[in-house]
């Protein structure tokens, strides 16, 4: 019977631990986080930081829900690109909205979306926003990546999509993996489609909401 000597064979508990640590170091070295170079937009980042701070202050206050919703609506009205959001939400039915009804639609939509978003924002109200980066994507807007920190929970990745017409305005927000704009469009276009392409049905829905 012969015995072979393997220099790498673990001998005893200490050797096993050393081997485990060695393996751990190898795999640690294998994993390198990818870094993506971006031309950042400081103005957009400052805008997001300011709006986030306003929203966090509203959500953290002890005021009644109705007051919070009203304040949220004010922040939304001042910082959202309502016309772009409204046209996007109409999707393929955009052309069916006559120019004469646009003002009414934007006004109703602003009220509705503001109320809806304030409900969703309540579910993710954190206590500190961290800006991760930004980049200009041309016609797709300026993208600002951020993290919303919570006490005792994993931070939530929040991505902002901004327009720049004069100053920056919010066009869409992605919470985790979900953009709110497409979700809104699903609802609006669904209502129009269910009524044979009649945008008046959407206007009625928004008025009654």
């Amino acid at each position: 019977m012969t015995s072979t000597v393997n220099a790498f064979a673990p001998r005893g508990g200490l050797a096993r631990i050393s081997l485990s640590v060695f393996c751990l170091m190898i795999v640690l070295a294998m994993s390198t986080a990818p870094v993506r170079a971006q031309a950042r937009e400081p103005g957009a980042e400052a805008f997001v930081k300011r709006v986030s701070a306003q929203l966090i202050a509203i959500m953290q206050s002890n005021e009644p829900k109705a007051v919070k919703k009203r304040k949220f609506a004010a922040v939304f009205s001042a910082n959202a690109d309502v016309r772009a959001i409204g046209l996007f939400a109409l999707g393929k039915f955009r052309r069916k909205l006559p120019a004469s009804r646009r003002g009414e639609y934007f006004s109703l939509m602003k009220r509705y979306i503001s109320a809806t978003f304030s409900t969703h924002m309540g579910a993710i109200s954190g206590n500190r926003v961290e800006i991760l980066g930004s980049e200009n994507r041309g016609k797709k807007g300026t993208i600002v990546s951020s993290k919303l920190h919570f006490p005792g929970r994993e931070p939530a990745p929040i991505t902002w999509r901004l327009t720049k017409r004069g100053g920056y305005k919010v066009f869409d927000v992605r919470i985790f993996s979900i953009w709110l704009g497409p979700e809104q469009r699903t609802v609006f276009t669904g209502i129009v489609a269910d009524n044979g392409g009649d945008v008046n049905a959407l206007l009625k829905f928004l008025r009654d909401a």
């Binding site: 393996c23 994993s31 309540g122 016609k139 990745p157 993996s177 979900i178 699903t186 609802v187």
Partner: protein, 259 residues
């Protein structure tokens, strides 16, 4: 044999529920880049040829959810503090690492496979068997892969959107993928010879954990959406597209409309 088949199928279906539950789950955006892949309609409107049937099944599911799933998830949230629920979720995620690891490899994502392996080693040891996510604190963010995503990367189409009561939203491709993932799951083999009621415990806890994590988000959606079915479908496709592209979905964005 039949019992084992039942276990495998049920575990696969519950995995699909997890994916549905993952609608609002944290997925780190700083993931490695992969090319955009064919995912069917981005928001699902054009991928639902079975919509009339799906809507009926959705109504059944919603009834079960209101009567049973949601109340149990509510009690679970009230009975256990956040750190306990996080521990349960972390433990389940850690034990699902082999699924992610194999699919990382199958997608040619070697760096991400390394991250999965590192996370598994760290969390199983320093993280006390996976209860704590020590790896995330060390900068190794979690990510999740499944065979449905792998098939998407390989260029296989989504197939029709399906809504299965209890299981939740899925597509044909996704559902097939979960069966393969079930074979990769340690639970399947660890509990292979156990009685059915024991073998189903991980699936049940997984379902409970996933539902409880989305309690408030789904409550809000049910309250605010005039078409809850369409909203769930939209969120499913958005989330799925995000997962398949490892968070790199900005290229898919439409241009902002002019006015």
């Amino acid at each position: 044999m039949w019992r084992k088949l039942q276990i495998v199928l049920f575990a696969g279906l519950v995995s699909a529920v997890l994916m549905a539950g993952g609608l609002f789950a944290t997925t780190h955006p700083a993931a490695a880049q992969t090319p955009a892949t064919e995912t069917g309609s981005l928001y699902g409107e054009d991928s639902d040829p079975l919509e009339p049937v799906n809507r009926v099944l959705f109504a059944i599911h919603d009834g079960v959810d209101i009567v049973a799933l949601r109340p149990v998830a509510y009690i679970y949230n009230r009975a256990f503090p956040q750190f306990v629920r996080n521990g349960v979720s972390n433990f389940l995620s850690n034990l699902a690492s082999p699924i992610t690891f194999v699919n990382d490899i199958l997608q040619g994502e070697i760096d991400r496979a390394g991250t999965t392996l590192v996370r598994f080693l760290i969390n199983t040891t320093v993280g006390f068997g996976g209860v704590g996510d020590a790896a995330a604190m060390m900068g190794h963010a979690p990510h999740y892969e499944d065979f449905g995503q792998t098939m998407a990367v390989w260029g296989i189409g989504t197939g029709p959107y399906l809504f299965v009561p209890i299981i939740g939203p899925t597509t044909l491709r996704h559902a097939v993928g979960r069966v393969v993932d079930t074979a990769l799951s340690p639970w399947t083999w660890l509990l292979y010879n156990e009685p059915t009621y024991i073998a189903l415990i991980p699936a049940g806890v997984t379902l409970l954990s996933a539902r409880s994590e989305n309690l408030e988000a789904l409550d809000n959606l049910r309250e605010t959406s005039p078409d809850y079915y369409a909203s769930i479908r939209n969120l499913y496709f958005q989330n799925r597209n995000y997962e398949i592209n490892n968070g790199n979905t900005l290229e898919d964005l439409e241009d902002i409309p002019d006015y």
